[in-house]
Symmetry: C2
Subunit: 308 residues, 2 copies
């Protein structure tokens, strides 16, 4: 299988952590409901390919996300090796109860950076969403869990115009104050460009949230994800979210393309000699297999090119 | 129509020139043969959208590229405004004769950076290809034409392993010595990553070919084109090839994706506030119209997202 020619560049990290979101963020946004045994095999194959952080599922109410209604059963089936981190998404205290019952050690909560998305997705407002997060985060921390905070719609949403950077920083900084060890800055609709990425990371730094607490989460809806990710690496970020095979589409645009594909990211990282511990060939084979399970081709350009 | 939020970044040029290759490189690699009237309208619409450099066609033998057999007729139909540059590809002296007869003022010639591609595409060798170019370039210059040199397979080809950077520089520097005013460094199969891009640009500089003589030409086969283009801008390059709507596919990979789409590029440039003079909305409308003519959707992610 073809590999990129290795040529390093200055000003980039030696190693980055890929935070794999395919099983949760990917499958949550696919129309097909995947069998729990297939999900377990998918996660096992991702771990076997070298991914060390895999968000496995979500304890959101099954009414809202029927694709992940089998969360508890899936976790029961998993027997992941020592050292592999397997966070789950938890929307509220009810979700936290279910996660705790399943023995979860890491959770992620999902906040909005814009009023309209808070209203549409969380039935809340920018301020009031914290009424839901605060007790969830506090109890999780008291139980010894670590908590990641997603901030969605950081660079634009489908309804509002430009999203003010200080508004995004305010939401994110508050999550860090509440005890989130990491923020994932989401470009949920894929519109960001590199200057915007740098400006947001810089503004977080000025507010006391350093790059070591930031992860980036780009969608490829407008083809911009990889250039933005590279920009974030230059700015010192070393954790990046991506989805094996580009699973997930984009729920807020008429496009087949959503999450940055882990393979497309890995091609760049392998070419740059940035260590990840992930085996591109095994990952591509996994995504080809998963595409077969879903009955539709992977939108990842690397998967398409190497599958041919 | 949605636009990117404008946030500038440091270390990038204020303005770049988009060298539009859709009518030539794009249509040459589409299986459909497009009517000459449609081609003329396509070019007129591209110019109306603000593109000032459009490679219109190729005087290659119609047996090899039937898609562009109408080159002379197309040029007769065009009446482009003052200041618009309309280069054509010319493979050899016979092609140059036809271009001169058509009143062309700028040509481009097409060289290979690898032995195998020189053999397969030009029936030649790395050295012997110059036997074809040298008299073509010399006569073109004597006629007062300007000559661009494409160097293809700069970062890899479908048959050989890694392509040595000094081999690419040797081919390119020789074209500049022969009188090419600009080199277009082609990632014909789309495998390049940012460190490789910088290393090649740096090596050309060391050989006396400065960034002002370099254009970049990336294919998006592996999803890497836009990150590589951004890297080239950071390295001082200010001319970039792209294809409206991503026309062209990739003739050397099993992928629908070839040339970097002008719209995907323009989204990044508009977001960064880098001037191009091109109107994104008019361009997207043109690519939607052209996709309709070809009977297949544009592979451009921006066109897909905005067409929805």
């Amino acid at each position: 299988m073809r590999k990129p020619q290795l040529v390093k560049a200055e000003g980039l990290p030696d190693r980055v952590t890929i935070y794999e979101v395919g099983p949760r963020d990917g499958l949550q946004n696919e129309s097909a409901i995947v069998d729990v045994a297939v999900k377990a095999e998918f996660i096992n194959r991702l771990v076997d390919a070298g991914l060390t952080t895999v968000e496995t599922t979500s304890f959101v109410h099954p009414k809202w996300v029927p694709q992940l209604a089998d969360a508890a059963e899936l976790l029961e089936r998993l027997d992941l090796p020592e050292g592999v981190r397997a966070p789950v998404l938890v929307p509220n205290e009810r979700g936290l109860d279910r996660a705790l019952a399943a023995g979860v050690r890491e959770i992620a909560i999902f906040a909005s950076a814009t009023e309209t998305f808070a209203a549409n997705n969380l039935n809340s407002t920018l301020d009031d969403q914290f009424a839901m997060f605060t007790p969830t985060i506090q109890r999780a921390l008291a139980e010894g869990l670590s908590v990641r905070g997603y901030v969605s719609m950081c660079y634009g949403d489908p309804w509002e115009g430009d999203v003010p950077i200080d508004q995004v920083v305010k939401v994110g900084a508050r999550l860090v104050e509440l005890g989130c060890h990491e923020l994932s800055l989401g470009d949920t609709i894929g519109v960001a460009t590199p200057g915007h990425v740098t400006a947001l990371i810089t503004a977080f730094g000025a507010a006391g949230v350093g790059v070591e607490k930031l992860a980036v989460h780009f969608h490829d809806t407008y083809g911009q994800a990889l250039a933005n990710t590279l920009t974030a690496f230059r700015d010192g970020v070393t954790t990046v979210d991506s989805s094996a095979g580009g699973l997930g589409g984009c729920p807020y645009a008429e496009s087949a393309t959503g999450n940055l594909a882990t393979e497309d990211l890995l091609w760049q990282l392998d070419g740059l000699g940035i260590q990840t511990g992930v085996d591109l060939q095994k990952l591509v084979e996994t995504s080809i297999w998963m595409a077969d399970q879903l009955g539709k081709p992977s939108p990842s350009r690397v998967v398409q090119a190497l599958a041919g």
